[in-house]
């Protein structure tokens, strides 16, 4: 019997489609792995075993036939309370319908296996949760997964599911993807419906995917994209699938590395890895995104104000039921004067216009997704730019690009320890199937040179977004023999890639791949 623990979604679907494996067999294996490993990883808060078995018995067909997936527990699952990581929401009645994205994945043949742990109300970068306990990093279970989609990162990196859905407001997909060593995709705003998900910051919320390969991200994206009248922010555009074009790689892309703000504060592992990846890609150009620090501050103000307003009635009635770390930030957010919020939104428009101009000159920008590798669970502060700072609000310091509504990928993380070596070997093979820039990195051995420390990048620029990964950076130089050997290995990398592929250009044949883009994201809110 084939073990599907580390198989890609594409490989599982192919096996089910040709009859080499049954959906029931895949699901039974998945449920057994969850039962065995979840007590340690704490990735799942609910397992929908009966539903999954019933669904498998229908012999689903489609591009994701028989592929198990799980969702962050702020996404509605019919019959399950939508916790959004909170104690408070446990009083809510179970959702009466599935979220749009669940319905679409199941229409493509995928099978839901459960709901995933997360930071309370998504206001978190750590993956810790005072009610359910922390999700744990499969590479080193003493370390954080990153958040707020921490369970999503843990489940995918831990071999409990090949695909997980998460949400990303200020990096909540990219940080856990980075720390857990997998791929994450935050699509352009409005590309995926948010209908049936618990909100956090309406003007910054995105749903997206975490997976172990860029092809799996593309397959899931293709299954989920499309207009949705239930989400007024969702684009009306219908685009052709992107998975068939993933293999095209990065040749011809104009790629630059982000300088200035995006290098200040980064730890040595992150800088080394990004440099290695840029070298492997032949990227010498550096661009500076003007006013990025101020953009991050605007995003902070918008986030805290919108989130504080959203939760005000709960803060009045049930403040003691919040996670204390989240509660205190929300209370402060509810007190933000309106002129500050309006100014932040005006600055956001100005900043967005400036960043879009950059994409007249480049197609993708490489940057580290996080300034450090995954910290130990429970750590509350870290050193940034020589100053000890609160960890929770500052792990995501590299999120100013989020104000641009632009797609961005994530990086792979902190490869902290060498535990579970056998699992990681399989994991590495899976990761090696990444496409696009990941392909190019692979051929040049960038991941391996960056291995064991932090960051590289691998990114793929396509019409929906980019994917990236980060690696552990080298703490010591490698000998020539070792370098030659490593260059022959598959590539892993990490970091974030912001792409310029979503300009107001309608899809056309014959254009350079990253010009075959959809139109500008809708932001009519």
């Amino acid at each position: 019997m084939t073990d599907f623990a580390w198989s890609s979604a594409g490989a599982i679907a192919a096996a089910v489609d040709r009859g080499a494996a049954g959906a029931g067999e895949v699901i039974d294996q998945t449920l057994q792995r969850i039962a065995h490993r979840n007590p340690l990883l704490n990735a799942f808060t609910a397992v929908t075993a009966d539903r999954a078995r019933a669904r498998a018995a229908t012999k689903p067909r489609g591009p994701l036939a028989g592929v198990p997936f799980a969702v962050k527990n702020l996404i509605d699952i019919a019959g399950v309370p939508t916790l959004a990581g909170s104690k408070i929401n446990r009083e809510r009645p179970p959702a009466n319908a599935d979220a749009t994205l669940i319905a679409r994945l199941e229409a493509a043949g995928a099978i839901l296996v459960g709901a995933l742990n997360m930071g309370e109300f998504a206001y978190d970068f750590t993956g810790e949760n005072s009610h359910d306990g922390p999700s744990r990093n499969p590479h080193d279970t003493t370390r954080m997964t990153g958040g707020s989609s921490g369970g999503s990162g843990s489940a995918v990196a831990g071999g409990l599911a090949p695909i997980a859905l998460g949400s990303d407001t200020n990096r909540s997909i990219r940080v856990p993807a980075s720390f857990c060593g997998i791929f994450g995709l935050k699509p352009t705003f409005g590309r995926l419906s948010r209908a049936g998900s618990f909100p956090f910051v309406a003007s910054l919320d995105h749903l997206g995917t975490l997976a172990r390969s860029t092809m799996d991200l593309a397959l899931a994206y293709d299954a989920m994209t499309g207009p949705d009248p239930l989400d007024p922010a969702c684009t009306d555009r219908l685009d052709p699938p992107i998975a068939p074009s993933v293999h095209r790689g990065s040749d011809g892309l104009r790629i630059a590395r982000a300088g200035g703000y995006f290098r200040i504060g980064a730890g040595p592992e992150a800088l080394t890895a990004v440099d290695n990846v840029a070298r492997a890609l032949g990227v010498s150009r550096e661009v500076e995104i003007a006013e990025a620090a101020r953009a991050r501050e605007a995003a902070y103000v918008i986030t805290t104000a919108e989130a504080g307003a959203l939760h005000l009635h709960r803060l009045r009635r049930q403040a003691r039921d919040f996670d204390p770390d989240v509660r205190d930030r929300l209370i402060a957010g509810a007190m933000v004067p309106a002129p500050w919020l309006v100014q932040a939104q005006k600055f956001r428009r100005w900043y967005r216009d400036r960043v879009l101009r950059l994409f007249d000159k480049v197609d993708a920008i490489l940057a580290s997704a996080t300034p450090c590798i995954a910290p130990p669970i429970g750590q509350r502060t870290f050193v940034l730019e020589g100053q000890e700072m609160l960890l929770r609000p500052n792990i995501g310091i590299y999120h100013p690009a989020d104000l641009v509504y632009r797609a961005a990928g994530r990086r792979r993380a902190g490869a902290a320890r060498r535990r579970h070596a056998d699992r990681r070997a399989g994991h590495r093979r899976s990761l090696a199937r990444g496409r696009g820039i990941a392909h190019r990195l692979r051929s040049r051995g960038a991941w391996d040179r960056a291995r064991s420390a932090t960051a590289g990048i691998a990114a793929r620029s396509n019409r929906t977004g980019c994917c990236s990964r980060r690696a552990g950076a080298a703490s010591r130089p490698l000998c020539a023999k070792r370098q030659r050997r490593l260059r022959q290995r598959p590539t892993r990398a990490m970091g974030s890639v912001y792409c310029g592929t979503h300009r107001g250009v309608a899809p056309q044949r014959g254009l350079d791949p990253h010009r075959r883009i959809h139109g500008e994201p809708r932001i009519d809110r």
Partner: protein
């Protein structure tokens, strides 16, 4: 020693109907200060009266 952060916290908590327990006060005050400092730097950036906010409504 009380300062404008305390005045802000007390006045707004009363206005919004949020009961801030004494043991939360220091943390809330810290986040107010962080937010204020960031908002002030954003506010320092010169923008014309005609500057549009990020959200744009289209027919």
């Amino acid at each position: 020693m009380r300062d404008e952060l305390d005045d802000w916290l007390d006045a707004t908590a009363a206005l919004l109907g949020i009961a801030v327990a004494p043991e939360w006060r220091q943390s809330v005050r810290l986040h107010l200060r962080l937010t204020r400092d960031m908002a002030e730097r954003v506010a320092e950036f010169p923008l014309p009266d005609e500057a549009e906010p990020a959200a744009v409504f289209r027919a």
